[in-house]
Symmetry: C2
Subunit: 413 residues, 2 copies
Amino acid sequence: MSDWQEITGGVTAPRGYRAAGITAGLKPSGLPDLALILSDVDAIAAGVFTTNQVCAAPVEYCRQRLQAKASTRAILVNAGQANAATGEQGGKDALESAKALGQALNIPPESILIASTGVIGQRIRMDALLSGIPQLVAAASETGSDSAARSIMTTDLVPKSIALETTIGDRTVRVGGICKGSGMIHPNMATLLAFVTCDAVVSTSLWQQMLSRAADKSFNQITVDGDTSTNDTLIALANGQSRTAAITEMGPEAEKLEAMLTAVCQHLAKAIARDGEGATCLIEVQVSGAADDKAARQIARSIAGSSLVKSAIFGRDPNWGRIAAAAGYAGVPFEQENLRVQLGDFLMMENGQPLPFDRAAASNYLKQAAAGEYLKEDTVLISVSVGNGHGTGKAWGCDLSYDYVKINAEYTT
Amino acid sequence: MSDWQEITGGVTAPRGYRAAGITAGLKPSGLPDLALILSDVDAIAAGVFTTNQVCAAPVEYCRQRLQAKASTRAILVNAGQANAATGEQGGKDALESAKALGQALNIPPESILIASTGVIGQRIRMDALLSGIPQLVAAASETGSDSAARSIMTTDLVPKSIALETTIGDRTVRVGGICKGSGMIHPNMATLLAFVTCDAVVSTSLWQQMLSRAADKSFNQITVDGDTSTNDTLIALANGQSRTAAITEMGPEAEKLEAMLTAVCQHLAKAIARDGEGATCLIEVQVSGAADDKAARQIARSIAGSSLVKSAIFGRDPNWGRIAAAAGYAGVPFEQENLRVQLGDFLMMENGQPLPFDRAAASNYLKQAAAGEYLKEDTVLISVSVGNGHGTGKAWGCDLSYDYVKINAEYTT
């Protein structure tokens, strides 16, 4: 149905991008911790950032850069220290990082965006970062995406990457992305970082609109533990190297590009939810019948975020009452007598009336779905309808296991 | 400072009340499961109920009764089945329960309020409930509060009860209360039920205003897992048996009564948070410097509800960055450079700047506070200031342990 295909290469799949990841010595673990994404020519940049009042210094830095509509050449990302709640010194460290990379690349520091992930309240180990920059720049290559994806990981178990390709006019257009999440909404680890590259020719304002809408259907619809990070950052570059005709307003070509951008964001967002701390499976919640899409997404998010729903799925317990309750407290008015709840193929409530169902078979569905025996992926499907409206929406989460508590109780000590 | 004293007797401490709890056979466990609170004379009633769109049949029933401003004689409470998401049949079951109790007490069914707690989506075992009513009525006594408190428990580890006494004019006035919570915001177990009795002479509208304000400073400020139940119910009766002059508007006497009512509600609310599923300690969050009390309460609730803060406290990890982050996503604007964070006596951030502190000593504070070695109670104190405003607020929660997941993963299966 989709008119694009998956390709390899991550953020270096689109034309004119290089990337790298190295071990600079920021993480105590000695794992890779410094990443670079580089466009050969000036790119336009769009961004979506955390709504947390306590935001990290690199987030403030990027917001200023995007407001000034500076063209972008590079994104520098460190893992290990979040540079959040670091006061004035944090802002100075972000500026100094950009300056050092600018010198090494021989470009203005204003062309550089910055992101950090790691422990809140800790300054970046600046000596390690600054000494690592020459090696990082030297390592940048057209096959460096995987290395970059690995260098931004924190408690992630796997690197997360995707690239898609389509044809616009007679030219090939590509969108690639990498991200990290894990304790997704995990402030201490600075949560979600996602970087998207694209070689389309598109106007800055349209690109920003597309990215904001794509984020609303992807990264804003995943939840691991309900906490919102100080460092959440999604940046998308477009460098025009596909040499298509310029896309400056909505129309068939813009829609094609936005659909592919959204697909990239959804792939990355689902990868984060599936890799949630301690998770054993992905939960996909589909909501229909709401007044509009926004309302449907809000209900879906409420269900995907419920600790009780998540604990039940971990226990492979078809506890549909918790799903109904989580729909009910989403903050979206609906009539209880229109509620419909389905788990996989098991219809459990219709018109607000509970239905008899085979509890053992439904529990078995959860076991098999979580083990990946129904879809290609280890996904449990929850479908809810709240009325006769046309609004639909999806959200993704993961189950809540003992290991989530273990990971988070023992993280800094 | 407070001009009341604690007395024994729970909901039967105020004059003119009786209570009872029996085993009617509603819970599979065979534990007590049916409770009655009875006023010898007509009482006025105020109520605060769940905001969940999916609300239980007894909640709808009580809302209708309170709207009709009917005088109240009795509250019937069953544990075992929540009578939520039970469709039309649920409403019929609630009506039939009230009718049966009315016949046994020889009072109109309109004088009876109803509450349920237990598994969502399950009908009340009506035969067991109906056969239990004569025994329940016969058991009602002036020493029955503890028995009633035990009969409304679900996964609660301890019954929760309090009574306070003060002097208004030359008369003694008493307020008593019992409640259940545990998986506090635990829809499957129907969450929070609280019942308050009082012998003051007070007007219905003033009593409702007092109760709503008291709930905002108590039950609405506790959080165990962020889920909002279908059955949350707080009902307060006032039967006038203290024979004070009528309190019909705010003034010194009304303020005294409201302060005592609030203290009863706060005691019960904290008891619920402390007994949160799997909890090892109570967390009290104090917020100051906000624009108004509502904003302060909202920030306090955000911190007390953060899975990451709760996990850190369970790990006895002085991870103040998570506290700052949870303050930041509360939805209340503030300037990051005004943020102050303190854990016990350990000041960790001031004016938005992180401060050096002795990590081992702070971790030791958490260990000792959770063990009850600082206060009379096992309480960890978190203090946050967000600016120079006069708004203050408190919230209470508990830590997040392995056992929370265990209890919730295995509840219905």
